[in-house]
């Protein structure tokens, strides 16, 4: 049984999954197609409903 995890996609969903798994003590491999993670969320200026900065 392997306990490592593979997460495909470094947008907000992939980032959250990876951090949760890593915090639980699992080794995570996060694969992202683009040169940087962040996905669509990184393109957003602010997020609703709090108008917090997306980055």
């Amino acid at each position: 049984m392997n306990k490592d995890m593979l997460v495909i996609g470094g947008g907000i969903a992939g980032i959250q999954s990876s951090l949760d798994l890593a915090e639980m003590g699992f080794k995570v491999h996060l694969v992202e197609r683009l040169p940087s993670i962040g996905g669509k969320m990184a393109q957003l200026d602010k997020t609703f409903p709090t108008n917090d900065c997306a980055i």
Binding site: M1, N2, K3, D4, M5, L6, V7, I8, G9, G10, G11, I12, A13, G14, I15, Q16, S17, S18, L19, D20, L21, A22, E23, M24, G25, F26, K27, V28, H29, L30, V31, E32, R33, L34, P35, S36, I37, G38, G39, K40, M41, A42, Q43, L44, D45, K46, T47, F48, P49, T50, N51, I55
Partner: protein, 447 residues
């Protein structure tokens, strides 16, 4: 994002793609291709000196094509990892030209034109697909004239215009006005060059162009002055055009009257019959931020209805209406046509007045639908999981994050359209399911 880069348990494989996943739940083997960045990740400090000297401009997709980046670049300024990458499709050196200035400039010696793709094999117990979505291309709706009318843009483009790190540094300049300013800049360069040529000729001959031109007015130009006079006429035409454009540019203001059109591609039987879920809130947010930038801004949001279902969402909608000059109009806009001053004109039926109305706006923003991710079919094949009729990964209501293959889970917009809070909640849920796959021991024995 920063936490991901720093966490000791996370190995970040950016600029990489999964090519094959074999085995079964608990013991998968994944083959991942780390694409060549041509920059050594161990040496690159992310200082950006290479981008400063790179001579090649490339359309910047991070800014939705409204600015340019260099052929050696980082996807965006705060990108994680900060390692830069060379875009081999556009780099001069990879296109057979002489260059390599980035390598000379890089003090860390990180540029490596010989770098090759690297394939790594990973043994993993579970897989989470968080492959995201693709924004609907509104060119498919010809009546909205996206691309034909410069001041009809998508919500994501508008998002970049609002951003301080965006192409207009957060000013709401209209794309048509920006184009005129670019044209002025280009013509000014040409004018300078032409003025130098004329000055050289005047010095050589010892006469003023203006006087000589007046002398020849209406008559035959002497052979030895023909070339000079032709150049002078071109120069005059150039300055005239430039002054007209400059006069026009003086009247430019930022976009103050905005229209948001909802359900562009979604809830539309021609394209996606489903609701994209986040666009109503997204448009309200953009209208509120635009109003924060400039208190004169007014916005009208045109939609079949406003779907503000979520914690604090409806209050946000009401607040937008009360404090941010937002009007909500129940209407499905029929057509967008060009108007004077490059201002788009909406043609729609006002369902309360029961009248067809034409209204002019400075800028029209299309709330484009959330479509399935571009490479979803290939990824479905690689992971050997099924895709539903719309192109999202297939799940069941009982097991909302389980795909059709045991040990592979899905979250975020790869599952279905959803907003950030929902993606985050589902991502945690998928993480918990992944842990269940690899954990057999029951931590608490139920007695």
């Amino acid at each position: 994002m920063l936490d991901v880069g720093r966490h000791p348990n996370i190995e970040l494989l950016a600029y990489s793609e999964v090519e094959e996943v074999s085995g079964s739940a608990g013991c998968f083997t994944a083959r991942v291709r780390k694409k060549a960045r041509y920059v050594d990740a161990a040496k690159c400090t992310g200082c950006g000196a290479c981008t400063e000297v790179c001579p090649t401009d490339v359309t910047d997709l991070y800014n939705e094509g409204h600015s340019t980046r260099k052929a050696v670049y980082s996807w965006f300024a705060q990108g994680i990892p900060s390692t830069h990458a060379i875009d081999a499709d556009h780099c001069r050196l990879f296109n057979g030209k002489k260059c390599g200035v980035c390598a000379k400039k890089c003090e860390a010696g990180a540029i490596d034109f010989e770098q090759k793709d690297e394939v790594v094999e990973l043994d993993v117990g579970a897989v989470i697909a968080a492959n995201g979505y693709t924004i609907f291309d509104p060119v498919k709706i010809p009546e909205y004239r996206y691309k034909d009318l410069p001041n009809v843009i998508t919500a994501m483009e508008f998002e970049r215009f609002l951003s301080a790190s965006g192409p207009t540094h957060g000013h709401l300049d209209r794309p048509s006005d920006i184009a005129v300013k670019h044209e002025i800049a280009g013509l000014e360069k040409l004018e300078k060059r032409a003025a130098r040529t004329i000055a050289r000729l005047e010095e050589k001959i010892g006469e003023k162009s203006e006087a000589v031109s007046a002398k020849y007015a209406g008559g035959e130009v002497a052979e030895e002055h023909k070339d000079w006079m032709a150049k002078y006429d071109d120069y005059k035409a150039l300055t005239d055009k430039l002054s007209t454009l400059k006069e026009k540019a003086e009247s430019f203001t930022t976009a103050k009257k905005l229209a948001f059109i909802q359900c562009v591609g979604s809830r539309d039987l021609r394209f996606f019959p489903f609701c994209s879920g986040y666009c109503c809130m997204h448009s309200i947010k953009e209208a509120i931020i635009a109003h924060e930038h400039d208190n004169d801004t007014t916005s009208v949001i045109y939609g079949m209805d406003i779907r503000a279902v979520g914690k604090g969402f409806d209050e946000y909608r009401v607040r937008g209406g009360n404090n941010s000059n937002i009007a909500y109009k129940r209407s499905r806009v029929a057509e967008i046509i060009g108007g004077p001053n490059d201002s788009p004109v909406l043609v729609y039926e006002d369902t309360q007045l029961q009248k067809v109305v034409r209204e002019e706006f400075d800028l029209v923003i299309l709330a484009t639908a959330c479509g399935p991710s571009e490479g979803v079919v290939e990824l479905g094949k690689i992971l050997d999981i099924e895709i539903n009729q719309f192109g999202f990964f297939k799940t069941t209501p009982e097991n909302p994050v389980d795909t059709t293959r045991e040990g592979i889970f899905v979250c975020g917009c790869g599952h279905s359209p959803m907003d950030i809070p929902e993606s985050v909640a589902q991502a945690s849920s998928a993480a918990a399911r992944a842990v269940q796959t690899v954990t057999h021991e029951k931590l608490l024995q139920v007695s």
